[in-house]
């Protein structure tokens, strides 16, 4: 046919390439109450004799890039906290185990079984066994490397795409809050008066992960998150394909610092004054919402700076279609401006007919099926002349 040319199978190739995008998250998105969504799906039981108030809390919170009530808001990541069932935190708060194996806790400890279940869920997903314990470095067998109080950051697929690129992860973190003064009504849990000097923050990164490749059978590629100023100090794990960071709070922050302030309570009053160490007291006594709120507002910063960044991988499968126009092909056009009303071709001088040959310009390539239906179109950034002395090949790449 004069307008179509069949493409041979040799002119269609498939390739695979990887695209990297730089992703960064801003402090005020995680610290802001309107951009961090809680779900309030958990309510404490009121059957316990000490429990005169109930606590409503989320099991995780989602951070958005703007007010989450707006339809244009994008989900960035989920934050949650877990605790290992065999940890000293659990041992210090549990009173007994019932006949069904349910661990019992005092009413001063809040959502302990939910925190344990969160840990077990991540262990099952990332390590393949709900009873397994996270360790950082990942390959360590030492009990001193156990992660018993992890913070889980689960990045959304919109940003992770096909996975996080190794050795591109970095996050800024405040290891300590402002210290309360004895006898003062200072609140460093939700920081009404706390201001973080920038020198108090540190950088956690997965530097070295590209040259030390470890793999979990269930969680995919794993890297160690270390302190950038001292890479021998491992503070967590990064599961690259799953897009999940596991941060050991015992090592990431000052676990002994006194956390002073008001948290939700199931006791005689709806809130209680807390003043004790971060681990185990605060993480045991506070609801998931209170823990996540504290981490989100006090540990990542509240300004307009980036606090977390990484690069993602997007694997692009492409079909390359080579459209070859030989010297004798496509030298005429059906464009209405190509001829006058009598059909005379305007690019040939009337006085030079029989001497000059026609030419045309290419601005578009159409890819068609056998029924001549247009499946894909490609546009050239500028017109390319086609004449009987030119052999042109257009390489059209379709990405999937």
């Amino acid at each position: 046919m004069a307008t179509f040319k069949t493409i041979s199978s040799a002119d269609i190739k498939t390739t695979k390439t990887v695209l990297n995008q730089l992703i960064d998250f801003v402090e005020e998105d995680v610290s802001g109450s309107t951009s961090r969504k809680s779900y309030q799906v958990f309510v404490t039981s009121s059957t316990h004799p000490d429990a005169t108030n109930s606590i409503t809390s989320s099991l995780f919170q989602t951070v958005f890039d703007q007010d989450y009530s707006l339809q244009t808001a994008n989900e960035l990541f989920d934050v949650t906290y877990g605790v290992f069932s065999g940890s000293t935190s659990v041992a210090s708060a549990s009173t007994d185990t019932d006949v069904n194996g349910k661990i019992l806790f005092t009413s001063q400890s809040v959502m302990m079984r939910e925190k344990i279940n969160i840990y077990r869920q991540f262990a099952q997903t990332l390590l393949g066994n709900a009873d397994s314990r996270f360790r950082a470095p990942f390959s360590s067998t030492s009990a001193t490397d156990d992660i018993d109080n992890p913070l889980f950051l689960c990045f959304k697929r919109l940003f992770v795409r096909d996975g996080i690129k190794r050795e591109t992860f970095a996050m800024r973190f405040f290891q300590s809050c402002s210290s309360p003064i004895a006898g003062d009504t200072y609140d460093n849990i939700f920081g009404q008066t706390a201001a973080h000097p920038s020198s108090a923050s540190v950088i956690f990164t997965d530097v070295g992960a590209a040259s030390s490749i470890e793999r979990s059978q269930f969680g995919g590629d794993v890297g160690n998150i270390v302190l950038s100023s001292d890479t021998t100090q491992t503070v967590g794990l990064m599961f690259y394909q799953k897009g999940i960071a596991v941060l050991d709070l015992a090592r990431a922050l000052d676990e002994t610092q006194i956390m002073s302030g008001t948290i939700s309570s199931v006791g005689d009053t709806a809130t209680t004054t807390h003043s004790a160490s971060f681990i185990p007291n605060f993480v045991n006594s506070a609801s998931m919402d209170d823990i996540i709120r504290h981490i989100s507002t006090e540990r990542f910063g509240t300004g307009s700076n980036t606090f977390l960044t990484f690069q993602n991988n997007t694997k692009i499968n492409s079909t390359l279609v080579f459209c070859r126009a030989t010297a004798d092909e496509f030298n005429y056009s059906s464009n209405p401006t190509y001829t006058n009303s009598e059909g005379r071709i305007l690019v040939i001088d009337e006085s030079q007919q029989g001497e000059e040959k026609s030419f045309s310009f290419v601005t578009s390539v159409g890819l068609y099926d056998a029924n001549e239906e247009l499946l894909a179109t490609a546009k050239l950034s500028r017109p390319v002349e086609k004449n009987d002395e030119k052999d042109l090949t257009f390489r059209v790449r379709l990405d999937f």
Binding site: M1, A2, T3, F4, I7, I12, V321, C323, A325, E329, F330, N331, Y332, S333, S334, N335, P336, T337, Y338, T339, S341, E342, G343, I345, L346, V347, I348, Q353, S358, F359, S360, F361, V362, T363, S364, V365, G366, L367, Y368, D369, A370, N371, E372, E373, L374, L375, A376, T377, A378, K379, L380, S381, R382, P383, E385, K386, F394, R395, V396, R397
Partner: protein, 232 residues
């Protein structure tokens, strides 16, 4: 759609799947099969060659014709195709004429009335104006006719495809005259029945008629003509 950056020497090729291409992929029945290609020159005004001559005109077209990004609407993708003709000294192409009862439709419209004139037969004819006949490479065996599927059908035919913008595509067989210098087809356009609400939605400002268009293309020659319809 915006323009493509033409400030560099590199030629950028911007490619997208059309709505029909995505639909074929979604069907997962193997219908997404790239079989052939065509080249187009929708943005080019060859009148520049006549005004400035072959040398300067070529340069002006190459450098002064910004190209729009690719459209995903299949019905808008490639309007004017390039032609492969083995005769390299061809000086004339045939011309497509559309007529209604002998009246040329270049500057007139085809009128439909919902209550009475619900059918019109237009004639498409491709002929050489120089009396030299039509080059065999671009002799058309069929016409491709695009109509608005909301308002019109073609008598005795089923659409090959209906695009998401309600453009229905029909293929109409063409007849050759005995001298072989004219290809023609009679296309009977039938008005569909539709409500007053639809009429008022699509009618022009003032509400007296709906303006629609029919595009006829020679399947081999790529010659195209658009005619205007008015439905009152």
């Amino acid at each position: 759609m915006g323009f493509l950056d033409h400030s560099t020497n590199n030629i950028i090729v911007d490619a997208v799947l059309t709505d029909l291409g995505r639909q074929s992929l979604a069907k997962n029945d193997g219908s997404f099969q790239i079989f052939q290609f065509a080249l187009g020159d929708d943005e080019v005004d060859y009148g520049v060659i006549q005004q400035f001559g072959r040398t300067v005109g070529r340069e002006k077209i190459e450098k002064n014709t910004p190209i729009l990004e690719a459209f995903t609407a299949g019905s808008l993708g490639l309007k004017h195709k390039l032609l492969s003709i083995s005769n390299e000294f061809l000086t004339h192409l045939p011309v497509l004429d559309m007529t209604l009862s002998g009246t040329d439709l270049t500057n007139s419209v085809v009128s439909f009335t919902r209550t009475s004139t619900t059918s019109n037969t237009v004639n498409a004819a491709i002929s050489s104006k120089t009396g030299t006949g039509i080059d065999p490479d671009i002799l058309d065996g069929e016409f491709r006719v695009e109509v608005n599927n909301l308002f019109l059908t073609i008598a005795g035919e089923q659409p090959d495809v209906v695009y998401t913008d309600n453009v229905a595509v029909y293929r109409i067989p063409a007849d050759f005259n005995t001298q072989g210098d004219e290809v023609s087809a009679a296309i009977t356009l039938n008005l569909k029945s539709f409500s007053d609400t639809t009429f008022s939605t699509y009618s022009v400002s003032g509400g007296s008629f709906i303006r629609s268009f029919v595009k006829v293309t020679g399947i081999n020659s790529g010659l195209t003509k658009n005619i205007e319809l008015q439905i009152s």
